[in-house]
């Protein structure tokens, strides 16, 4: 448990960086939360002329229009920022884009989110994450002691903060599926934390005299092989989704990969366990200075 002297400052620093990233450059909010229009088009000729399309669309006077190659060279993702003038104005923008591009392209996907809905989705998403954390906390409080619940929550928030920092850094589209990804990361990371906590609780009952740091070390070590094997399998499954799952779920799996594999594992071992010492689990034991 000596590593907590290293891991806590590192985590604190990383969290600070993540928070800074969250404010600057900030999350790349997708149209789900910002409102606007997204079109995925495929050039019928087999190769999209990005420059010409950009010139055509920018001439429409729709404000900021972003074009991006998507997958292969015939596919283009077009993002039109939210138009002033309410919900009907968004539909008018789609109609304009469709007339401008005409029959040269096939429309593979059109998503339009009006200002009212985007606001609601954002608040639902935020409420959802908070509710999930509260629900899980209550359950852990009920099953363990309050220190465990609090420790798990700190670990949780730490995971979410780092993942959000990652998303800000990479500028991955933050949309509804990202909320799903965040909640799954939460679930998975807790899964790990609970497995270790379960073992710590068992050890606490069995070894009444063992000093707390030793006990935590033993708990983490005895669950370590399980953690490694499980994470290899989850990584394998995610890797398959990442490589073969296509663009549509790419940002989802990339976020999951970071959150579950990198952060979740690290947190349960290096943060969730040692924090129990500070929260006063096992005080009254022979909790002398660490050797």
């Amino acid at each position: 448990m000596r590593f907590r002297r290293v891991s806590f400052p590192i985590s604190a620093a990383l969290s600070m960086i993540a928070i800074v990233l969250f404010f600057h450059p900030g999350l790349n909010l997708g149209i789900d939360f910002r409102g606007g229009t997204l079109l995925e088009v495929q050039a019928k000729s087999g190769k999209a002329d990005l420059g010409r399309m950009r010139a055509t669309l920018n001439a429409l006077g729709l404000g900021e229009v972003q074009l991006q190659q998507f997958g292969n060279e015939s596919d283009v993702l077009i993002r039109v920022s939210e138009q002033p003038g309410g919900d009907a104005a968004q539909q008018a923008a789609v109609a304009k884009v469709r007339t401008a591009l005409g029959d040269e392209v096939e429309y593979r996907r059109i998503e339009v989110v009006g200002p009212r809905v985007s606001g609601e989705l954002l608040s639902y998403g935020t409420i959802g994450i908070i509710l999930a954390i509260c629900g899980i906390l209550l359950y852990l409080w009920f099953r363990f002691e309050w220190q465990f619940a609090l420790g798990a929550m700190i670990a949780n928030v730490h995971d979410l903060v780092l993942t959000i920092g990652f998303m800000s850094l990479t500028q991955i589209d933050f949309d509804l599926t990202s909320i799903a990804a965040l909640l799954t990361i939460l679930g998975y990371s807790l899964n790990d934390t609970v497995v270790i906590y379960d073992r710590i609780r068992e050890m606490l009952r069995r070894y009444k005299k063992l000093p707390m740091p030793d006990l935590l070390n033993a708990s983490v070590n005895s669950t370590l092989s399980r953690s490694i094997i499980t994470h290899v399998t989850v990584t394998l499954a995610l890797l398959a989704l990442l490589v073969f799952g296509g663009q549509a779920i790419h940002s989802f799996t990339a976020t999951m990969m970071f959150g579950v594999v990198l952060v979740g594992t690290y947190t349960s071992v290096f943060i969730a366990s040692p924090i129990l010492i500070y929260l006063g689990v096992g005080t009254g034991r022979a909790d002398g200075p660490e050797s």
């Binding site: 429309y107 996907r109 999930a132 497995v195 379960d198 092989s225 399998t233 799952g245 296509g246 799996t253």
Partner: protein, 534 residues
């Protein structure tokens, strides 16, 4: 932990088998499915992101409803005061959610209040039982009478308007002839339209987004439209623009001669002389009589056919039209004529609807997503299977069998619920495989540990299961909580993810507690192992 009575073993196997069997209809072709009894036809429905289609969320304009109610109230107040011979000064003004009127000198406010109270009705009908009324009439003193519309009354009207709109939207969408469109209410003032496998989403939007309020009115001949634009149009006329050339103005009387409600039928066709696409229509007896009267009185003068405040055409009445049928020609395309006929047959929406969210996936993209999802699932599964075999050998095989049955059960339950499988849903299943494998890993690692602690193989296996199962339960419940929250806050695709994840957790706990244990128990009984091969 390793003892199963014969009955218990049978119950576990039958449960697993039956649940797996529910997945079977998914592999039958459509024709074969139809020949099965109803209960056996249940199968997984592909989400719009996989099969292609449109998801459109419409919102009813609550302000329009409110404005409409207040306008009506103002008309009613005017009528009541006139009938009761009560004078007023300064007109009847709409203020906030109500109407105000100042009585003239000498008019009895008591009488006015009691007369106006007759306009108010119990909310929710006579037997609604709330005891509240639609309009509150108050004497503000100094002859000022204030009528305010109750919030609940507006809500009730909105609710009714949504119900009516759903019926009309349904009629319009059904005319497109697509398979299984769903139209449902969402929240208090929204309608969700989901139409799978659509080739032209733009047409769907044009059909459901239009209010389609059709009116026949006379063109005001007292001055030209240009003159009216520069000066002031007469009080009972307004400027409307042409539907095609949106800069061409018409001066049209506000008074409606005949309206869309009086139509009984509308059909697209072609004009016999010019070959131009037209919409021919028929009036009901009331409409026919009015139309006959108007056309008799106004031969030689133009009238306007107005749709949603745009003039479709303004023909000159050449002769009286007595038989109650006619045609609209407005330089339509054949498609335009067909759509207008659909709109007229289905009727006008009570209030305008706005599209607040749209998600459309073309059929090509959906097919691609299915292919990619399949490949990812196969590759992921094979990698996990191989890894487990390499790590645990024979027990790895047990784990793989349990996980395979687990996945089959997920599909079984999804079919039983006729759930919708979305792309994130597939991701949910792949992740469940991860969780399911984890439950086996937890058990095996615990067994390994117990062996290291010096227990006999059978005692180690027994203790391994006992200890690991408690952990599995705890960790799965936490994930389940996250899935539940996702289900309630999520929409569409995200909800699909929550459903498969949630079901996956249930089946995982079931297989870990029963099947895996049963397989290992049988193996122990058969082999009487001296060492544990993991």
């Amino acid at each position: 932990m390793l003892f199963f009575s014969r009955w218990k073993a049978a119950a576990i196997l039958i449960t697993a088998l039956v649940v797996c069997l529910f997945a079977v209809p998914n592999f039958f072709p459509e024709a074969m499915l139809q020949s099965l009894p109803k209960w056996a036809q249940r199968h997984i429905v592909l989400g719009l992101d996989l099969q292609g289609g449109s998801h459109i969320l419409l919102q009813l304009d609550e302000d329009a409803v409110r404005k409409d109610m207040l306008e009506t109230l103002r008309g009613d107040v005017r009528r009541v005061l006139r009938e009761a011979r009560l004078g007023y000064t300064g007109g009847i003004v709409i203020r906030g959610d109500g109407v105000e009127v100042r009585l003239a000198e000498g008019a009895d406010p008591q009488l006015a209040v009691s007369k106006l109270r007759e306009l108010s009705q119990p909310i929710g009908g006579l037997f609604g039982g709330t005891g509240r009324r639609t309009i509150d009439v108050a004497d503000a003193g100094g002859g000022l009478i204030r009528l305010s519309v109750a919030k609940a009354a507006i809500e009730e009207r909105v609710s009714k308007a949504v119900e009516q709109s759903i019926q009309i939207v349904e009629r319009r969408v059904n005319e497109l002839g697509t398979v299984e469109p769903t139209i449902q209410r969402q929240g208090t003032d929204r309608i969700l339209v989901q139409v799978p496998g659509l080739q032209d989403p733009q047409r769907l939007k044009e059909l459901i987004g239009k209010t389609a309020k059709l009116t026949f009115r006379m063109v005001d001949g007292t001055m030209s439209a240009e003159q009216a634009l520069q000066g002031r149009p007469p009080a009972d006329s307004e400027i409307l623009y042409d539907a095609k050339n949106t800069t061409t103005p018409y001066l049209v009387q506000k008074q409606v001669l005949v309206q869309g409600e009086d139509l009984v039928d509308a059909q697209p066709g072609f004009d016999q002389r010019s070959g131009e696409p037209i919409v021919s229509f028929r009036f009901n007896s009331n409409g026919a009589r009015r139309f006959a009267q108007v056309t008799q009185e106004n031969v030689g003068r133009p009238f306007a056919i107005v749709l949603d405040n745009q003039v479709i055409s303004a023909p000159v009445i050449r002769e009286p039209i007595l038989q109650g049928s006619g045609q609209i020609s407005g330089s339509f395309t054949p498609q335009g004529a067909t759509d207008l006929a659909i709109l007229l047959r289905a009727g006008a929406l009570p209030v305008p609807l706005t599209i607040v969210e749209e998600r459309t996936v073309g059929p090509g993209l959906g097919q691609d997503s299915i292919e990619k999802g399949k490949i990812a699932s196969y590759v992921g599964s094979i990698m996990v299977i191989v890894f487990m075999l390499l790590t645990y050998g024979l027990f790895g095989l047990f784990a793989n069998i349990a996980v395979a049955i687990n996945v089959a059960m997920i599909f079984g339950i999804l079919s039983l619920l006729t759930a919708t499988l979305t792309l994130p849903g597939i991701a949910g299943i792949v992740l469940t495989v991860g969780i399911a494998v984890d439950s086996n890993v937890l058990i095996y690692e615990r067994i390994r540990e117990e062996v290291r602690n010096g227990r006999t193989p059978i005692a180690a296996i027994d203790a391994g299961f006992t200890r690991a199962l408690a952990t599995i339960l705890d960790s799965n419940i936490t994930t389940f909580i996250a899935a539940t929250v996702l289900f309630f806050i999520g929409t569409g695709a995200v909800r699909g993810f929550a459903v498969t994840l949630g079901i996956g957790i249930v089946t995982t706990v079931f297989t870990a507690f029963t099947l895996t244990r049963l397989i290992v128990a049988w193996w122990v009984r058969w082999k009487r192992p001296q060492t544990v091969p993991i």
